[in-house]
Assembly symmetry: C2
Homo-oligomer: 453 residues x 2
């Protein structure tokens, strides 16, 4: 019987992260200090982020960055994760393609987010930080950082988008079980929050309000730093353990991916699976296709504009050169909360603009159809976010069949399981979900006035 | 750095289950046909169960029963599961004991229940069964059988205790995502259900009502069989993959357990971890202690009577020689729904009566305290059921320290994660949970009139 899972041992957990910035044929434009318009320096970032995270953010020279042993030790709680040949899905599709997935859903919090949460909490601890703040939308990032902060003995305050705080009580409970303080945002605990609440009494919150509150708390509290779960270079860096493990596991399977797919919100899991394989495209050894799968209702990679934009709605962050729908863009209320973000990180935006990676946008109903097929054929109920990658993989398998390309190798990242997202599945089966296409006029209006990169 | 996880490969998944009935020094009394009072035969069980399950149930001679290759193949979706040295918990306790846990929570449905669900669905399929029925309380068993039945192309109807159906909508959704039909019990779909509803219009259901409905549907529908998730011998048999893997993994760790612990509802996960190690006690090679950890509010092993009793409240099943609180015993509404069962299987009851295993009963608040400590020190939020095993392991570690027994090796089974049980944690942190001790008079009254074994 052929192997289904390809398993590494603890000794095989990568010892260094892969820094794609060192290898890019053409570097992205620098982030800008919004006050001065000058390129951001590590000194500009220090007040907000742990020092080492700020350094990694701007590191364009070191290809490999050593994973500190305490981080690697904590990775051993669940890493290495399995690479799985999706024979059940292949059979259900009747495809001749070979479909593999990297199963990041086996982490104790159910997603890949721990890979960076642990690193960020570790660096904070090493630098004497006593408190961290962050924001969370659906709650995956908040849950991961809660676990990591507790492990390193750091207190954590999570600003959770108010509508999620009430609609996703399980994720809130998970954070509290790990000992984090969870505050529904907008809240009365910050100046920014108070202003929003007094201006708009029933404001249900957004990532923008939550980031503003978390940043304000970090900036106004000695010993306190801020941590972000996606978009930034150092977060993508930490996630490359996914692709580095997958690379070795594909070797065990005796294949190499023709197509690599990740769902796309801010970029953390896509970058994690893609960048290590992308380096072999850079070197000319390979010509793998990379596909970022984003929601039709939040199509920054497929339809966004390349502009300098803020990372948050309130405009507190540096200006990032990004494919964006505008920092005030309000995505339709799709259930893949982790993908409802207006922009892509600078590196992914640049790679997309240079034609080194592709993107597809996928309608909500197609993602739930794919999720159901996957659950019934592979046994794992995927997170709504990850279902975008599954749907893209199914499209690619069908394309391979149409092209007569039997044996084409498709690899996607299963970034998380959906066991805490069952309410979304309920709504899908009840017929309560719909697709939503963003009008061009909205994208034009939201990005008007932003400076071109 | 010493290893934290001990991982096997797919080739190490056991090829045979261990049948403890072949090795017991003293066999349990037979189950009785309630109509005739005669010992049950396989022929009595066939109408209800798949033929091979009925055979396994009564097999007292074959020590090893080959795991069919399609079952083993499906085990490969998540097996072998990790054995973990709980160094974080050891440190948090400051104990000199060595604590290990077998992590069955990594299954796609989050618990060990799949080990038997797959086997039962496979045998049913092989025998031409088109439909299965079962009952579920908290939903772990129902979710597992839903996934397994879908895999083998069998339709499944799950009678879910009505109060859980409404309180645990995520577990219901999981079953539906796998394609099962889920009916709140009592329902109008069976004679038994209609009678209960008309007699007691607001009946919230119990495992008793759900078993009655599932059994009635199976008995009255051609091609339909019934599957049970615990209590019976063939279910315990299938769960022995847990202990067999753990045995090899303890060898990798270079240790052998002095104490083996599982939480206890009907016996499936306790038997799974314990029986393979118990065989070395039978042979005289070892003298490991075995501890079944049950809720204080449902103390059949520590305080129940050894009687012939029904497996269900309505009295439709064979009479089982069991430690029981009486088949009409209504446990307090503790949150470990999977442990709210009135009796223990015949084999475990006999082993306990013969002094070959021990049991402890643990108060609810102690289990949540243990669960929180475990989540914060090991990173995994445990199911409320599994938290009973954790609490018992913590007691044993403290006992070892008190006895000066540094290096005592304690192994427990983490039967499932708690990510779908966060509402229980919420109530614990809110101070809404309490302990409940069953009065002797209640046990005496509920077991009065039952025939002694």
């Amino acid at each position: 019987m052929e192997s289904k899972k390809f398993l590494l041992t603890e000794a095989d957990i990568p010892t260094a992260w892969y820094n794609v910035q060192a290898d890019m044929p053409s570097a992205p434009a620098p982030m800008l200090n919004p006050a001065t318009g000058a390129p951001m320096t590590a000194d500009d970032l220090y007040p907000l982020f742990a020092r080492e995270c700020a350094r990694q953010e701007l590191n364009t020279t070191d290809r490999w960055i050593t994973i500190p042993e305490p981080v690697r030790d904590m990775y051993r709680i669940w890493r290495p994760t399995p690479l799985v040949r999706a024979r059940g899905l292949e059979k259900a599709l009747g495809t001749g393609a070979h479909i593999y997935f990297k199963n990041e859903s086996v982490s104790p919090v159910g997603s890949h987010k721990l890979n960076s949460a642990i690193a960020q909490a570790y660096y904070a601890k090493e630098e004497g930080v006593t408190n961290l703040t962050t924001e969370t939308g659906a709650g995956q990032w908040g849950a991961a950082l809660s676990m990591a902060a507790r492990h390193f003995g750091i207190d954590l305050a999570v600003y959770m988008v108010k509508v999620s705080y009430h609609q996703k009580p399980y994720r809130r409970s998970i954070m509290q079980t790990y000992g984090a303080e969870v505050i529904a945002s907008p809240s009365m605990s910050t100046r920014a929050g108070r202003k929003i609440i007094t201006d708009t009494p029933n404001h249900q919150g957004s990532l923008g309000t939550a980031i503003s509150e978390a940043v304000e708390l970090a900036m106004s509290t000695p010993g306190c730093k801020y941590a972000l779960g996606s978009v930034l270079n150092h977060v993508s860096l930490h996630q490359t353990v996914i692709g580095l493990e997958a690379e070795r596991q594909m070797e065990m399977a005796g294949e190499y991916p023709d197509v690599v797919i990740g769902c796309f919100g801010g970029g953390s899991n896509f970058s994690g699976i893609a960048f290590p394989f992308l380096r072999h495209n850079f070197s000319g050894e390979r010509s793998t296709r990379f596909i970022a799968a984003e929601p039709e209702s939040c199509p920054k990679l497929t339809r966004g504009k390349m502009r300098y934009d803020y990372g948050d709605e309130a405009g507190y962050t540096p200006l990032i050169p990004m494919l964006t729908l505008g920092h005030a863009f309000a995505p339709a209320n799709i259930h893949a909360g982790g993908l409802r973000y207006h922009g892509a990180g600078a590196v992914v935006s640049k790679l997309k603009a240079d034609g080194l990676i592709d993107a597809v946008d996928i309608a909500q109903l197609e993602t739930f159809e794919a999720a159901t097929l996957f659950a019934r054929s592979e046994g794992i109920i995927p997170a709504p976010e990850s279902s975008h990658a599954i749907a893209a993989a199914i499209r690619e398998a069908r394309r391979a069949d149409a092209e007569g390309a039997a044996g084409r190798v498709i690899l996607f990242n299963l970034s998380g399981h959906g066991l805490i997202d069952m309410a979304s599945y309920d709504r899908y089966y009840a017929g309560d979900l719909a697709d939503y296409t963003v009008p061009d006029s909205q994208i034009d209006a939201e990005t008007a006035g932003l400076r071109e990169v």
